[in-house]
């Protein structure tokens, strides 16, 4: 107490001594921080070392440990970030000149990360690599991975959107469960027979067809499958939004009709998130639903069983071509990394062919050599992967994906709710985007 008392009565020497001590602490921290062997900071959403690992996490762990054994001078520090925060977290760190050496990002952000100079072009590493060479990638994945002729990402797994349908509900409605709809007309017809008021209270409680139109990215991803199928696209060669192409307007009108004209889709899809839609399919509130391939093994097949549920490609308009959306995840190296060679070596280890085969059992691989490997033939992943390889398109290459998608989903929600006709809503949204955000 006496000491403190003295300090308060003599503030100047006190403040001086405190600042000296603080200075010492900070300098020593920086000095010690630099005198270590190579440390790689790896930012990812996959926790290799969680206490309840699945097969792929165990495979990651093995590859990681093998790498450490071979490279005793390299230390790996993980930064585990929730998947939907990875992008912001990386950008804030990069802005603070403190980016991790390696990061793991969704395909949607490749273009922005590359064009802002935050990640490293990998041509020198990838060209001629026995497994990670760009020629081994599926074409849709390669399109997204390439920005101005340079490769920036090492894709791991991808996905696709497909139509899931309840075989048991098909049979209950007198439909042939072995012949799911393949065209839009068939989809509408089938959905109409499946839309039912099962308990007779005057309200529909089994809907024919559900898709996602809420405020998440799933909305534009699903809409795009219909646009591509009709030969349209989201942006033109100059990066301007062309929501209001003929195909785009037709797809938006199709949404309106499903909800309002044929009444086979509940109007609250504009608020039901992905999770709620999976739940609706599993609980039988939706007899068919457009969802991602990642939900199949556990959430859909696991919950319903093979005899009750099946999948089929996204139905196309008459005369259209097969089309689906593929996203996926990739490893990237920060352009400010002090150890790009070590970072590449580490990615080689955790994106190896062996590991890709292991991951490829549950998820669609981005690598052709994995998709065609005999080990996974005739599995769901192989079949849906073959479909995706022929039909998939990827994210548009624009700097501002988020406003591009935001304007679109807002317009689509307006159309679904009958607030604006498809033409007006999409044209206005495209004009707003083009005037402000188009590159």
């Amino acid at each position: 107490m006496l000491l403190l008392n003295k300090i308060v009565s003599k503030p100047v020497p006190y403040l001086m001594s405190v600042s000296v001590v603080l200075l010492l602490i900070f300098t020593s921290a920086t000095v010690f921080g630099q005198s270590r062997p190579v440390t790689l900071r790896v930012q990812t959403s996959i926790d290799f070392f969680n206490d309840d690992p699945n097969d792929s996490e165990l495979a990651y762990r093995a590859a990681h440990e093998a790498f450490l054994a071979e490279n005793p001078n390299i230390r790996i520090e993980f930064e585990i970030v929730p998947p939907f925060e990875l992008y912001r977290q990386f950008l804030v760190a990069a802005e603070g000149r403190n980016a991790p050496d390696i990061t793991y990002q969704g395909a949607a952000n490749t273009y922005t990360l590359a064009s802002s100079g935050n990640v490293l072009a990998l041509n020198d590493y990838m060209d001629g690599h026995p497994f990670l060479n760009p020629d081994n990638l599926q074409s849709a994945i390669l399109d997204v991975a390439t920005v101005d002729g340079q490769y920036y990402v090492i894709p791991t797994t991808t996905d696709a959107r497909v139509l899931y349908y309840r075989k048991d509900l098909f049979e209950a409605a007198g439909l042939d469960a072995s012949a799911p709809p393949t065209t839009r007309a068939e989809l509408i017809e089938t959905a109409q027979s499946l839309t039912q008021d099962t308990d007779g209270d005057g309200e529909t409680d089994q809907w024919g067809y559900c898709f996602i139109a809420d405020n998440t990215l799933h909305t534009p991803h699903m809409w795009l499958t219909h646009v591509w199928a009709a030969g349209g696209d989201l942006v033109d060669a100059d990066g301007k939004a062309v929501y209001d192409s003929e195909a785009g307007i037709a797809a938006a009108q199709f949404y309106y009709d499903l909800v309002n004209t044929y009444e086979v889709t509940p109007s609250n899809i504009i608020a039901n998130d992905y999770d709620a839609t999976v739940r609706a399919l599993v609980s039988g509130q939706c007899a068919m639903a457009l969802l991602g391939t990642w939900s199949w093994p556990v959430d859909i097949l696991g919950a319903l069983g093979e005899e009750n549920v099946g999948w089929t490609p996204v139905p196309t308009p008459e005369g259209g071509e097969a089309a689906t959306f593929s996203g996926g995840w990739s490893w990237l190296i920060s352009s400010r990394s002090d150890h790009p060679d070590e970072a590449w070596a580490y990615i080689e280890a955790i994106a190896s062919e062996e590991l890709a085969l292991e991951l490829g059992r549950e998820n669609i691989s981005t690598r052709q050599s994995v998709l065609s490997s005999p080990e996974i033939q005739d599995t769901f992943v192989a079949n849906v992967g073959t479909y995706a390889a022929g039909a998939a398109h990827g994210n548009p290459q624009v700097t501002s994906t988020q406003p591009l998608f935001d304007g679109l989903r807002q317009a689509l929600q307006d159309v679904i709710r009958g607030r604006q006709d498809a033409q007006t809503a999409l044209t206005q949204a495209a004009e707003t985007y083009n005037s402000r955000y188009a590159r």
Partner: protein, 299 residues
């Protein structure tokens, strides 16, 4: 309390009658107050109750329709998994460390400042006080990048201290305001007589003021604790290593992106996260009210 055993004269009888009537009226009042409060409690607790029910439902039955209020197979598996198979216990301890340090630090420097704001006279006092209050009005989101850069410059990224410092700064306005009001409610004569007896300012602070502002400290502590315990965005941004991760970002990791969300796990983790705050309420509730009673009245 209102019973009368002896009613011999008519005057007393009527008095007893009046008291009975009064009692009946107050009984009626009591019943209506009780029923109103019970209804409010049911409404207030329903979301927490449903969270609890979700947490004890088997994982595969979470999506079943119609929902069940008492699941067929009650299981505490989600709690076992949250505590045994995830980083939650470590996150929990990290949060406890950060939050406790924040509370202690903000009470220490907050009470020092409040002491002189309440008792001292110095040029610019009101302006500095206004400055404190004005910081509450700054929208919180715009500060992430500048704070990140400050922390990098101080070499504090990925340390508990980074969070503690920012949380203390965030707690300052309310702590100072609350404690200043509380100190003002203490009669001035107490510290003046101590000063006349030759005590220093520090001694007045330590031996006169501090012992008397316990309830005010408790109130400030509870509010600071809740706010820091529940902070998410800065905790996620500053802390990089999993072993230093705090609770709120930790729980976020259970929210699915490509797998469906693990509702049972989130529900269990949510309830586990509430425990320290509930304990705090149990111990500090009386002081919380008392602290706000004396402190808040000075506008």
């Amino acid at each position: 309390m209102l019973t009368t055993s002896d009613n011999r004269t008519s005057k007393q009888v009527s008095l007893a009658e009046a008291q009975r009537r009064k009692k009946r009226r107050s009984d009626l009042l009591h019943i209506s107050v009780h029923s109103a409060l019970i209804m409010c409690c049911v409404l207030a607790l329903f979301p927490l109750l449903w969270t609890f029910i979700t947490s004890i439902t088997p994982r595969e039955l979470v999506y079943q329709w119609p929902p069940q209020f008492i699941p067929d197979n009650i299981t505490f598996d989600a709690y076992a998994r949250a505590l045994g198979k995830t980083d939650l216990p470590r996150n929990f301890l990290n949060s406890l460390l950060v939050t406790t340090a924040t509370v202690l630090g903000s009470l220490l420097i907050g009470s020092m400042a409040a002491f002189r704001f309440a008792r001292g006279t110095f040029p610019g006092k009101n302006i500095i006080l206004l400055f404190f209050i004005a910081t509450i009005m700054v929208p919180g989101l715009s500060n992430i990048i500048p704070l990140y850069i400050i922390m990098r410059e101080l070499s504090l990224l990925n340390t508990y201290l980074s969070l503690i410092l920012v949380y203390i700064a965030g707690a300052m306005p309310l702590t100072v305001w609350l404690l200043k009001g509380f100190i003002e409610s203490i009669p001035k004569e107490l510290d003046e007589s101590a000063l006349l007896d030759g005590a220093s300012k520090f001694q007045v602070f330590r031996f006169v003021i501090l012992p008397l502002i316990g309830p005010g400290m408790a109130a400030a502590a509870v509010i600071t604790f809740i706010n820091s315990w529940n902070e998410f965005l800065l905790a996620l941004t500053f802390i990089q290593s999993p072993e230093k991760r705090t609770l709120q970002p930790g729980i976020q990791l259970f929210v699915g992106y490509y797998e469906s969300t693990e509702w049972t796990l989130i529900a269990a983790a949510t309830l586990i996260a509430c425990i320290p705050v509930i304990i705090l309420f149990i111990f500090l509730q009386r002081s919380l009210i008392a602290g706000l009673t004396a402190g808040a009245v000075k506008g």
